[in-house]
């Protein structure tokens, strides 16, 4: 009788463990699918940003073909995102493209196709997406234009693998998963863009996510390659069953009942530990994806500059797994000046990062065409509207003339930058205009700052100084003190010390810092 009861208990225990394993599997699959969707989603700015900048440029130059060609050609070619890029007039698609870079656009191959596409997308202000999936060279077409601005649309085509089977760059989000990606909301075979599986995934255990993609959508289908929780989780029911047989046999010996019960409790505690470790690993993985994305969106390294030392740091916040919207840039311009920028898009997540990427690249385009800092910020304001996107951005940018020991700067609601020279430190607070995306016709003014020899400039975002329960000027004061006490160090070591000292107790928000030091 005791032995029979033992078997029933073992049976129940094994079943419960198996159920919890299956629940775990579904939860992990859904979670992996969501991460993968984030990765795909984050790829959208890499398509949209160059097209938006090209459309902006075309509107600003009245459709100048040379300017368009010069700008877009680095995005077309073998290692580049597009095989073909072209400039069109939205109102005259029948006239064909005004300029073409790379292969000739498939959009112009079929009569009526360009007209249909442009008349559809002219009504929206998001990235236009069209499928060019028939025929041997399969492509996706993308279009961007600014509504209520000039008549110009930047258009580009990206090639897809011909056999619809390819391996996406191996990424943590895709490991352990088979995937298939379809254009649109359905999973019809004709709309399959790419997959790593020979079988339709919808036939087995799968998870489906629809991600908005411009004015269309991508449907991502995922199916586990093996068991997601790892071998231990899969074997757990059998381990418990095994232990249970011992328990059942032991239970027959009444003397050992208590001891066996304790062992069962220990086994269950072990199972909980496994679940907790999985949750921790999952969190760490999501966080590392967010950090990878953020780093992919920031400059890979700072340039070597004559007469200047430069350094930067990006310190992710301690909370949350979502990507932040902080950015910085330091780029030499042709005329001997150096353009610098630091900014922060409000909010977090992939949408904030997309706004950041767009602002960052547009800013570089304006600076590169010779716009002074106040004009850069004014033009940037027309790209972001809080009532449409829910985001606004603060940004500080300027031109450094190393030889003249001079900085010309404009500020859109961003924290002031710090100037350190040996004995003194001061924040440059004059002429702060409203943040980007807040008012329709903001006014920005430039201030010209004279910089003493060997002085250091530090630009930063609020994550570096913001602390709960205190006013932000208290944090600024703390930064001034810490920076001053570390300025005997090399710029790189100084930035490291400042970030360490200020974020020692952990900061919720991401923090970015950019430093420049005169060598003479």
């Amino acid at each position: 009788m005791i032995f029979l009861t033992g078997l029933v208990v073992v049976g129940l225990l094994t079943w419960a463990s198996w159920r919890s394993f299956q629940d775990n599997e579904s939860r992990l699959l859904a979670s992996h699918a969501k991460e993968a969707a984030q990765v795909i989603n984050a790829a959208v700015p890499s398509v949209q940003t160059p097209l938006a900048a090209a459309a902006e440029l075309a509107d600003a130059t009245g459709g100048n073909r040379n300017d368009f060609t010069e700008f877009i050609q680095s995005f077309v070619g073998k290692q580049a995102p597009f095989v073909s890029a072209s400039l069109w007039r939205l109102d005259e698609p029948t006239a064909g493209p005004l300029a073409v870079v790379g292969a000739s656009p498939m959009l112009a191959d079929k009569p009526g196709r360009a007209e249909d596409f442009f008349s559809r997308v002219s009504r929206t202000s998001t990235l236009g997406v069209t499928d060019l999936l028939e025929g041997p060279s399969r492509r996706l077409g993308y279009e961007y234009h600014f509504a209520n601005r000039g008549p110009f649309a930047a258009y580009a085509e990206a090639a897809l693998p011909a056999d619809r089977r390819a391996t996406i760059a191996r990424n943590a989000a895709f490991s352990e998963l088979h995937y298939a990606i379809y254009l649109g909301n359905g999973t019809e075979a004709a709309n399959l863009l790419t997959t790593d599986s020979t079988q339709p995934l919808t036939k087995s255990t799968h998870s489906k996510v629809v991600v908005p993609f411009g004015d269309s959508a991508l449907t991502l289908v995922f199916s586990p390659r093996g068991t997601l929780g790892g071998a231990l989780a899969a074997d757990l029911p059998w381990i418990i069953a095994g232990a249970g047989v011992v328990f059942a046999a032991g239970a027959a010996l009444a003397a050992e009942t208590l001891q066996r019960r304790r062992r069962r409790a220990e086994d269950l505690a072990g199972a909980l530990d496994v679940a907790a470790a999985e949750a921790r690993a999952l969190y760490a993985e999501q966080r590392s994806i967010a950090l990878t994305l953020e780093q992919a969106l920031l400059p890979e390294s700072l340039p070597q500059l004559e007469g200047l030392e430069a350094g930067c740091r990006y310190e992710p916040g301690t909370m949350g797994v979502e990507i932040g919207g902080d950015w910085y840039d330091l780029v030499p311009l042709g005329d001997g000046s150096v353009f610098f920028a630091i900014g922060d898009v409000s909010g977090r997540g992939v949408r904030a990062a997309a706004v950041m990427a767009r602002l960052r690249f547009a800013m570089l385009a304006y600076a590169d065409q010779g716009d002074p800092p106040d004009e850069v910020l004014r033009k940037l304001s027309s790209l972001l509207h809080i009532e449409d996107s829910g985001h606004f951005a603060t940004a500080l940018c300027g031109l450094i003339r190393a030889d003249r020991h001079e900085v010309v700067v404009a500020n859109a609601g961003h924290l002031p930058f710090l100037v350190l020279d040996g004995s003194s430190s001061r924040f440059i607070v004059e002429d702060v205009g409203p943040p980007i995306g807040v008012t329709e016709h903001p006014v920005y003014r430039v201030a010209t700052i004279h910089v003493p020899p060997r002085a250091t400039l530090l630009g930063f975002t609020d994550g570096l100084i913001e602390r709960k329960g205190e006013s932000i000027d208290v944090g600024l004061g703390r930064l001034g003190v810490v920076a001053r006490s570390n300025q005997h160090l090399s710029l790189d070591a100084m930035i490291t010390s400042v970030v360490e000292e200020l974020t020692r107790e952990g900061t919720d928000d991401d923090a970015a810092i950019l430093g420049v030091r005169w060598t003479t």
């Binding site: 909370m319 909010g347 606004f392 409203p434 807040v438 932000i472």
Partner: protein, 104 residues
């Protein structure tokens, strides 16, 4: 981590001059939705102005600023009453003094 925050308080008083939303404590991305839903329900009755008493705020981040700016975009004038030092500093430092009008 919410339990580490100074607790957020949100309450609304109807005055002859329109509703006043009084907010106190620490306001950030983790609890901004509480204020957002109160703002939405007040905006639903189309007040002539919407006033915020922020004298009890000890900390606020950009998500609070974003909510206040978005509220001005609905066409209902927004007034910030008796801002505490952290609030006044953030608004002035971000160049928003013309957008988020403070009294006094």
């Amino acid at each position: 981590m919410d339990d580490l925050n100074a607790p957020l308080s949100v309450s609304t008083t109807d005055t002859p001059a329109g509703p006043v939303i009084t907010v106190g404590g620490e306001l950030d991305a983790s609890n901004i939705d509480r204020l957002r839903s109160e703002v939405d329900s007040q905006l639903a009755s189309r007040p002539e102005t919407l006033k915020f008493d922020l004298s009890g705020i000890t900390f606020m981040d950009t998500s609070a600023i974003a909510l206040l700016i978005s509220t001005t975009k609905t066409g209902v004038p927004v007034r910030i009453l008796a801002p505490s030092v952290p609030v006044r500093t953030v608004i002035e430092m971000t160049g928003l003094a013309d957008v988020l009008v403070m009294e006094p």
